[in-house]
Chain length 305, copies 2
Amino acid sequence: MSLIVVGSVALDTVETPADRRDEVLGGSASYFATVASMITPVRLVAVVGEDFSDEHLRFLRERDVDLAGLQRLSGRTFRWSGRYLDNMVDRETLDTQLNVFEKFSPQIPAAYRDSEYVFLANIDPCLQLEVLNQVDNPRLVALDTMNFWLTGESVSVLKKVLVHTDVIFLNDEEARMLSGKHSLVKAAAAVRLMGVKRVIIKRGDSGAMLFDDAGPFWVPAYPLEDVVDPTGAGDCFAGGFMAYLAFTGDLSDSNVRRAMVFGSVTASFAVEGFSVERFDSVHRGDLLLRCGEFGRLVRFEDVKL
Amino acid sequence: MSLIVVGSVALDTVETPADRRDEVLGGSASYFATVASMITPVRLVAVVGEDFSDEHLRFLRERDVDLAGLQRLSGRTFRWSGRYLDNMVDRETLDTQLNVFEKFSPQIPAAYRDSEYVFLANIDPCLQLEVLNQVDNPRLVALDTMNFWLTGESVSVLKKVLVHTDVIFLNDEEARMLSGKHSLVKAAAAVRLMGVKRVIIKRGDSGAMLFDDAGPFWVPAYPLEDVVDPTGAGDCFAGGFMAYLAFTGDLSDSNVRRAMVFGSVTASFAVEGFSVERFDSVHRGDLLLRCGEFGRLVRFEDVKL
């Protein structure tokens, strides 16, 4: 089942209280594709500059990531730099250089037009709309966004995209901004009224909630001894979620819940290392093992009175 | 199975952005006993002043709460007053008048010495230790505390109590203070090394985590449309948890997990009203119904790759 991601590829410089990495592979599409490619082929549409290293290209290509949609423009690659505070949740952005990403205009290669599973990572809603005009008949469209697109003109465009969206990923702040509701239950209901079938609210180290016709579902975050770097956890959640749906080809409510668990599993591995480095040593068996641990984490027998 | 709670009975004045209540029934022991009494008799040890109303006494007595351990001293009842911020999570304390609670010295009536299930609500660890000296041979001792007792001399006394404690309830800040570890997984492990078999970390609107020999377990908070008043949610969680164990008399790992779910159910009802008012209209059937909803909230079929 063909899966496509449209988003950013970046070079990240990340500081945590314990360690740091300079100009490592980052960006939503990199995280998403790295994770998804563990179980299904993935087509990547993004842009990099002339300075993007062969090493990073090789890393992605060797993971069964199709790079026919990766544009290379003259100029420098998108760079982001940030520092995490002691709680490893809050962070400050030290520097953002959009570089070639500022001129990103997603060109979907002809061979990608038949993509069935589409993930629109956090980019300008105008570009998200352009992408949808370039795919023929997707089975499932999922979308991520950020606070920056939730005001002014952008949010009007975003709402046009939402009409064609099956699944939206939001954190709690974004859900509240988009809906104008404080209660996450009410926020999810309001977003569903905008035309999105399933609303996923990411809760950071508390996991993620799904709201759809089958009622609410909550997958916790895996209780880790240590978080090394939270960057990209949300994109890795989306990568696991979408890949599981594409791999199984099953969009039933129960399979979407399995995909939530798989997303939380992949996100939990992501934060165990900087950038995508943890995935050098994670294999299918590790993923399945952790899925089993999620079962033990939440399962209980019927309460009787 | 005999259940006892030792803690505070207070008159609370609570403001939320939407509403307020003046001098309503509050205090850890009131919340705990109100909830527990829905499924099992409960013995209450606490202190009130001369001004404590017959109406409140009648409310508790009619709920099968044994008040033989409720002391009445000359002076005024403990009063607390607070205001919740817009997020309905953070709050500021406006006023605390300990009044007779300052002189609280728990006297366990002779008829209570055989109590099998003991809940030491948040009081001075010296008093918690005194209570344990007055019960003969409890099957299960559980304890709550707060940041105030986690520094200086108090924490040394608390650690003496912990040696005799089977279950501790902490929020994340308290778990970090007591253990000196930021990671909640490491914090729980460190607290278990202090002699506590099961550590429960309350995560507010994300639910609660249990750490014991059977591994971690996470029960989410019930996704509510509206939270009316979060005061007492933790005590209502403990009340549901302990009552379920006392009612069933089963301390197996799997039943302790059911008790976690039951605790989250009772906490979810508690925050739907001010004080204990929601429990005027909650019955066993409502509790069971919501337990079933928790099943649907977290259950998923095996992930296959």
